[in-house]
Symmetry: C2
Subunit: 416 residues, 2 copies
């Protein structure tokens, strides 16, 4: 085995023991705060006491794809290029999905270690993410990469493992369920025991956090189950890193109605239909729990309306935090210019921004309050390690804010 491997400019030492990073999708610090106070998560509490814990800064927009890709490449969004689920191709004026591996720039940490001879495992809840995280990973060589969403259709050729439901001992989980995340973790433990991979990434789904606040018992129950699995994971002599892709905030009013800015409707009323296009980059196949509503949207002009006019109109909308031109947005939030809109709009924490009211299906909320993400506040996520930092990384923590995309760096290079 080599002494180290360099991936996207970061040098990683060869892991002395398996390194397992769990991305708690939507794992807002508020959940931890509540359940630590309740005593409901004793294993996480022990990691905080004996290991290392801080709040790390995630990538903007505070959505799942950009942050998972930041974490798995160890790079900011400007470098890996996946700045959301969609951007607009101005040649065709069609939205382009960014969730395929072909738009990802640079290598994943998984592929880098695999190429150097390590055994790697990647398990996600959602399959769209599985494909992106699997970029450059040759599962035929013994590596494993699958999603719990499609656990029942895994093949050796595509996923490096088969008969998964029997192997894990759980039925195929529903797309919107607690089990979709728990399956990821139980499969991880099983593979850890059987194959002892060097590097493992386990990425969950934020179904629970979209649906339930920290005060609701369903969320607490989920965190208790997570905590239980984390306790069993660290019994396998591993370095465990916990991170989140983004936080989660209540974006409803006192009556329980979503606080939505229907931005396409506003812009159409001001500039005429067809002059601007609002893209909600949170949009994907799993929108029942948030109706494709987040706190960050992109706006392109067909060319007749100036960027400044669009910015002025958006800035005047109640609940908007920032309306920025492409250059400023890319500089402030480290976004890739070639996939950025003419204008970026970010709402306040308690608000979200949609396109046209008629384009969003909110029936999936089923009476729940809208909880979602995308704003600056939701870039703040817990970063927890079960082992203490070494002297070098303690010094780093004193000199720089820690980014969530440094979790593998800290877990692999930074722990005792």
């Amino acid at each position: 085995m080599p002494d180290h491997v360099t991936i996207n400019g970061v040098r990683y030492r060869w892991p002395q023991r398996p390194v397992v990073v769990v991305c708690i999708d939507g794992g807002d610090p508020a959940y931890l705060e509540r359940y630590l106070a309740d005593g409901a998560i004793p294993n996480i509490r022990r990691f905080i006491e004996e290991g290392f814990a801080t709040v790390a800064i995630g990538s903007m927009p505070s959505f799942t794809c950009p942050n998972n890709i930041s974490i798995i490449t160890g790079t900011p969004t400007a470098r890996h290029g996946i700045s959301g689920n969609f951007y607009l191709d101005t040649a065709t004026w069609e939205p382009v999905a960014m969730t395929g591996p072909e738009l990802l720039r640079g290598d994943t940490i998984l592929a880098g270690f695999a190429d150097a001879g390590a055994k790697v495992v990647s398990i996600t809840a959602k399959d769209k993410l599985r494909r992106q995280l699997g970029k450059g990973l040759d599962v035929g060589k013994g590596h494993v990469s699958f999603s719990s969403e499609f656990a029942d259709r895994c093949t050796l050729e595509e996923n490096g493992i088969e008969n998964l439901l029997d192997y894990v001992g759980m039925p195929q989980p529903d797309m919107y369920s607690v089990e979709l995340s728990l399956f990821v973790l139980e499969a991880g433990i099983r593979l850890l025991k059987d194959r002892r991979p060097d590097v493992m990434y386990l990425s969950l789904t934020d179904f629970v956090q979209h649906k339930w606040s920290p005060e609701e018992k369903e969320a607490c129950e989920f965190y208790k189950r997570l905590d239980d699995v984390f306790g069993r994971l660290v019994q396998e002599d591993i370095t465990l890193g916990l991170i989140a892709d983004h936080g989660m905030s209540d974006k409803s009013d006192a009556a329980g109605e979503p606080n939505v800015i229907w931005l396409q409707d506003i812009l159409d009323a001001t500039f005429g239909a067809g002059e601007t296009t609002v893209i909600c980059p949170i949009t994907d196949a799993f929108v029942a729990h948030h109706g494709a509503l987040g706190s960050f949207v992109r706006i392109w002009s067909k060319g007749n309306v100036s960027v400044q006019a669009i910015i002025n109109r958006i800035a005047a909308v109640h609940g908007v935090d920032l309306a920025l031109d492409k250059e400023t947005a890319c500089r402030l939030f480290d976004l890739p210019e070639d996939r950025e809109a003419d204008v970026v709009a970010i709402s306040r924490k308690e608000m979200c921004i949609g396109s046209s009211a008629r384009q969003h299906d909110l029936s999936g909320l089923k009476g729940h309050r809208l909880r979602t993400h995308g704003s600056i506040e939701e870039t703040r996520v817990p970063l927890i390690l079960n082992r203490p930092l070494n002297a070098d990384y303690r010094q780093r923590a004193a000199c720089s804010l820690i980014r969530s995309y440094q979790i593998f760096d800290f877990a692999i290079n930074g722990t005792l």
Copy 2:
């Protein structure tokens, strides 16, 4: 002695041993990073290894007064009201200095502890800050509050101590000198040995950081001397907290010329003289090393020019990061609305914003590169404790970004 004291809504336990907080004015993380790597600051290195260290978020604007007041009150700027050195009184259209104690809202931690029966000491480099920090502190009752700037004129009545030069054994330091800060620290050690106060605040000056980058030997020499004093301080069985009011960045171009946006000149050219007033809230009596240039300014309109027109003009200026209306600026940066301008302009890290070129005297730079602060980047400061966090505060650090104004809270309540 009481079991605890509550100040501005924060409950502080009674200190078991003296708590000494040092504010390293302009103590950018870059200095630490460099000297830790060099092995030049072994005591600070030991605190980081054995105690606690992180990067904390300071108050905007990243200037001395707002942050010292945040630190000494334990509150954000919106609450204590000191949002810079100056604001504009729109009744008289005259700049109002905010550096007196009368505009400070709430109590200082020093006064709160003194009222509860603790012995407190406050020593600053600059006298303007001494007066503000001394709000509500009755030095006649044995408390000490003085500035090294006026060390030679201290009286028992005004400062709680006299004959200071003899007492400390140092000559009166020059207004622009390394010794102005070192005098503060040496006086602190002497008072700690003689009087063992319960709470001590030592606030330095950023003369060195304005003048020299981390790469220059003068800055390294200063940090070595600081490190030496810190080592002697902790020999007195104290809890030591190190914090900074703001960072410091090079804001000059490749030729060594300051990167200045002369905003009043730009606005006058656009809207006519007298229509807008730009206030540089970094302005004070000590401007030789920065020429009253920072990265945050305030703009008021006489009433003929709209806020939106001003914002649009400023946003179009190269090097401006954000141009915000009052409401947005106050919401994003927790500023007091009644002292905020119609428009706030913040430059990029590598730039600064002045008023009119003729109103700034840059002769004090004497060929040095301009190094100054005020931007968002310079809110990031090191927070270091010589003792480890207790379990409760380790959990807090996992759930919230730490603000620099929490240094007393963490030092008093959060350490083992």
